[in-house]
């Protein structure tokens, strides 16, 4: 896999000497060609600054960036934004209100190398067709709805066929239905034209569903990098487990750890868990339970990995029921079938299979996770 984007030891500091705010600590990324790479994290984690450094809208304090094999930032050089081979979509669309749809999309072609008028028209039409906006070509930009403006913004970013597409929370200003629809289209378009894409979001559903790989950021650092499956199923820290999905945590002590078996004793019972090489017997650990891996039933059972609780909250959300179940002095989240719904106050039994019990070392309950609570 050749590199689409290489970010090496990126550091970015705001403010004047003596009053500095480090927004990006030390970020290193190697993004493959045609990857859909997501920077995921809460606001202020440095994801947008990292993206803006790639675009050249911010100058990093140190570190280097390569786009498609071309060094755009290093100790010696800083290529200005307009000479980088990129397209960018902004959160607030940034559609120029004084231009028509056509003029907005044609802009990148007109400011670049000279093209024939007919060629510009052809490529604008293609770009608009790609985002299903060809019917609006003669409209004024201000006559478009939010979703249409965002499509226009995407067409504008793609029209000069850049090597790199940068997306700064492009879906967050759209309403839920539109967001879901645009999410699918975005990925489809990206796959169809094949373009290295960096996507910034704080929405884990967007990140998981769109990305080939995700870097979860917190406090200016990448805390975990991997495929959506890795990130979701094997979070390496409590912060990642908590941020990527609504995970419940139970503290305990590892009692037995072999390559085959890992058992953890907690105050709600003993759990057989997915094995983890990093855990030794006697370690303080945290169990991370995904809501959808927790099975809610009304039959008491003595089986392994099951514990009793009382339904505190029961929300019907259409395709499932979201539960908060009081277990001892903590609330455990669970996702149940929509067929049967336990009402609040019901006594239930929760169970979870060993392979869904992710064990995190408590010592890695790092300062970021603590800070983000």
């Amino acid at each position: 896999m050749t590199s689409g984007i290489k970010v090496d030891h990126l550091r970015h500091v705001y403010g004047n000497p003596g009053n500095e705010v480090v927004s990006v600590h030390d970020v290193t990324l190697d993004i493959g060609k045609n990857e859909f790479f997501t920077l995921l994290g809460p606001s202020g984690c440095g994801k947008t600054t990292t993206l803006r450094c790639i675009a050249g809208l911010e100058q990093p304090t140190s570190g280097s960036i390569e786009l498609d094999g071309v060094v755009v930032v290093s100790d010696r050089i800083a290529v200005p934004t307009h000479r980088r081979d990129i397209g960018m979509v902004f959160q607030d669309y940034a559609v120029w209100p004084h231009m028509s749809v056509f003029d907005n999309v044609a802009f990148p072609l007109r400011v670049g190398k000279k093209l024939r008028r007919s060629e510009i028209a052809e490529r604008v039409e293609q770009a608009l067709a790609l985002v299903n906006m060809d019917a609006y070509i003669d409209r004024r930009a201000t006559q478009l709805s939010g979703g249409q403006q965002q499509r226009l913004s995407l067409a504008r970013a793609l029209v000069r066929q850049p090597k790199v597409l940068l997306l700064d929370e492009p879906l967050s200003n759209l309403d839920a239905k539109l967001r879901e629809q645009m999410r699918g289209e975005l990925r489809l378009i990206q796959q169809r034209i094949g373009i290295t894409t960096v996507f910034v979001t704080h929405d884990q559903v967007e990140a998981l569903s769109l990305s080939t790989r995700i870097a979860v950021m917190n406090g200016g650092r990448v805390v975990q990098e991997g495929t959506p499956r890795d990130i979701y199923l094997s979070p390496s820290t409590e912060f990642v487990a908590d941020f990527v999905g609504a995970t419940s945590f139970i503290e305990g002590i590892a009692t037995l750890s072999t390559p085959e078996v890992l058992t953890v004793e907690t105050d709600v019972g003993v759990f057989a868990c997915a094995t983890n090489d990093g855990i030794r017997a006697g370690d303080s650990v945290t169990l991370a339970l995904r809501p959808e891996s927790v099975v809610v039933g009304d039959q008491p059972t003595d089986a392994e990995n099951s514990f009793a609780g009382v339904v505190e909250l029961s929300l019907f959300v259409g395709d499932s029921v979201d539960y908060r179940v009081q277990v001892g002095d903590r609330l455990v989240r669970a996702k149940g079938s929509a067929r049967t719904q336990f009402q609040s106050g019901a006594r239930v039994t929760l169970s979870v299979s060993a392979s869904d019990c992710v064990v995190l070392p408590s010592t890695v309950t790092d300062e970021f996770a603590a800070a983000s609570r």
Binding site: H9, A55, S62, S64, H98, V111, L144
Partner: protein
């Protein structure tokens, strides 16, 4: 000053690699920024140096610009120990605060009515409210002294006829109240323009959201519209405060006969002393005191504009203005606005037209109507001095306005967008000329070009240079507000689309700034041709303009000639404002 831009010492070559030695990269130097700042520094620092120099000199033999300097603190000593100085200061503050109150309440109400309600003919109202901007202060002061002087002012005569009173008055233009009235409504056109421009750029969604939250219209205005307009309002307040305290024409025409002296008249009187040589040293000292008075509010303003990101109300998102339905109040409001327009603009104009058609000015009677004659116009239009003055006025107006707006846009961008520490300095530099009394700018420019062997002394170009110095602040206020309201994202989107610096300017910034630029051009043009002080200070036989002609005639007691010229100059400025309004293209949303 350059220390901030300099690189820290380069890491030793033996350091353990590039990433181990984090250092700040230098921004690429911007040639444009440098040029703008150098020119501005020359235009602003020059006059300030002249001001300081002459205030610390014994200028009884004129200002000395080469060693040996006759240094003295006598100017400050005499000004600061005089009790007159403090009574003048008190009168100035009362005058200024009252004028601002009158001007801003009227302006905000009118702006909101025109931009946010369904009042009939908003475009027509807009033009009529702005039109008095073309009436120089000296002309409106003359008009109101014809209307309200206590002995034979037309309004007083009319009231006395109705009441049968024989005494003087009851209205008296020659009083503090009269000055406040005339100066207060003279502030309205500019204030109104500033407020409408930002109301138009402010998304009505923000107001609608407040209505939807259950707020009544007045609450919406108080809790949402006014706070959102805060940077613009405070900017305008600071600016108009200075306009009031430095304006010499109304206090001179109305204040002197009524023995009301404010700071500006005090400066004028020391510069144009009735006996002997003008004392530029004392005049400059008063100028410095005025400068101090003006800089204090500026510091407050700077704190507000620094937070301008909080007020970025123009986004890439589309919005359609909604207008509040006035219902049965629609025509009542319209009539009220028309009455205001009549008092502020039509009435003074009618008086001037009447006076211009009389061979001599006496009481207004039916008999005097039979004396109407165009002889005043005939003699004016056959005078070659009139035509050359008109030509000079127009040339100075166009050239100075173009230069001012070009500088202003560049400067505002530095102030608002650049992260440099120099931005704050640039902001102050752009404002200070307005804080210097025009008479001092005039004096300073005069002395500078007596020293520099450039062939501008005595030509229209020396007036152009002085005008640019004076009005760079007016232009910059407008363009700074305009740029602060353009979201940074629109600029960044152009850069990520591959546009280089000048392309971002041409394709995105300038088109989006067009309303602000055209508004600014129009305002500077009008201010320039109204300006009396600078042409008067820099006057020679080769660069007489209309305003200086009017002043000279009024001084000589030639009321008819003064009235003819006033009507002509007002006609020029009204036509100019209507034409420029049409070019601006922003009239379409007023239909």
């Amino acid at each position: 000053m350059t220390a901030d831009l300099r690189l820290p010492p380069t890491a030793p070559a033996t350091a353990s690699g590039p990433t181990a030695t984090p250092r700040r990269r230098r921004r690429r130097p911007r040639v444009g920024t440098a040029v703008v700042l150098v020119v501005l520094t020359y235009l602003v620092i020059g006059p300030i140096l002249m001001l300081l120099l002459s205030s610390f000199e014994d200028t009884s033999a004129g200002v000395v610009v080469r060693p040996p300097f006759p240094w003295t603190l006598q100017n400050f000593a005499s000004v600061l120990t005089a009790s007159k100085t403090y009574s003048v200061l008190g009168a100035t503050l009362v005058f200024a605060v009252a004028c601002l109150l009158v001007g801003f309440v009227i302006s905000f109400a009118l702006a909101w009515i025109v931009e946010r309600t369904d009042i009939p003919l908003p475009g027509f109202i807009y033009v009529l409210v702005v039109a008095p901007a073309g009436m120089p202060g000296v002309i409106s002061a003359i008009a109101w002294s014809l209307l309200m002087n206590p002995t034979n002012g037309f309004l007083n005569v009319l009231i006395r006829t109705v009441t049968g009173s024989q005494a003087e008055g009851p209205l008296n233009a020659y009083s503090l109240a009269g000055m406040i009235f005339v100066q207060g409504i003279a502030l309205v056109p500019l204030t109104f323009l500033l407020i409408t421009a930002s109301l138009r750029n402010m998304s009505p969604n923000l107001e609608d959201a407040a209505s939807a939250s259950g707020a009544r219209p007045l609450t919406v205005m108080r809790r949402v519209s006014l706070p959102l307009l805060t940077p613009v309002l405070i900017g305008a307040l600071v600016y108009q405060f200075v306009t009031v305290i430095e304006g010499v024409d109304i206090p001179l025409v109305l204040g002197l006969p009524g023995h009301v002296t404010v700071f500006s008249t005090q400066v004028y009187l020391t510069t144009h002393s009735a006996f002997g040589l003008p004392n530029y040293g004392v005049s400059s000292t008063y100028g410095i005191l005025l400068l101090v008075l003006a800089v204090a509010p500026l510091l407050i303003y700077n704190r507000v504009v620094r937070r301008s990101q909080d007020y970025a109300t123009v986004s890439g998102k589309a919005f359609r203005p909604t207008r509040r339905k006035l219902g049965r109040w629609r025509w009542v409001t319209f009539v009220a606005v028309m009455i205001y327009v009549f008092i502020s603009f039509v009435l003074p104009l009618l008086v001037l037209v009447y006076a211009s058609l009389q061979p001599f000015v006496g009481a207004f009677t039916l008999e005097s109507l039979s004396r109407l004659t165009f002889s005043g116009y005939a003699s004016t239009f056959s005078s070659s001095l009139f035509w050359s003055s008109l030509g000079h006025t127009v040339i100075i107006g166009f050239v100075a306005s173009f230069a001012v707006m070009a500088f202003s846009v560049a400067l505002s961008w530095i102030i608002v967008r650049s992260k440099s520490k120099l931005a704050w300095i640039a902001d102050v530099l752009a404002f200070i000329p307005h804080a210097i009394p025009g008479i001092v700018i005039g004096l300073a420019v005069l002395l500078i070009y007596l020293l520099i062997p450039a062939q501008v002394y005595g030509t229209v170009w020396i007036i152009v240079i002085a005008m640019v110095t004076q009005y760079i602040s007016l232009g910059t206020r407008l363009t700074t507000g305009g740029i602060a309201q353009i979201q940074v994202g629109l600029e960044e989107a152009a850069r990520t689309s591959g546009a280089r610096g000048w392309q971002v300017w041409r394709s995105v910034l300038l088109p989006l700034l067009r309303p602000a630029i055209i508004n600014g051009f129009m305002l500077v043009f009008l201010a320039t041709i109204k300006n009396l002080t600078l042409p008067l200070m820099l006057q020679s036989s080769d660069n007489v303009v209309l305003s200086t002609l009017i002043w000279n005639d009024w001084n000589d007691g030639k009321v008819t000639e003064t009235a003819v010229l006033s009507v002509v100059l007002t006609a020029v400025t009204v036509i100019a404002s209507v034409l420029l309004r049409r070019f601006s293209g922003s009239g379409e949303e007023l239909k």
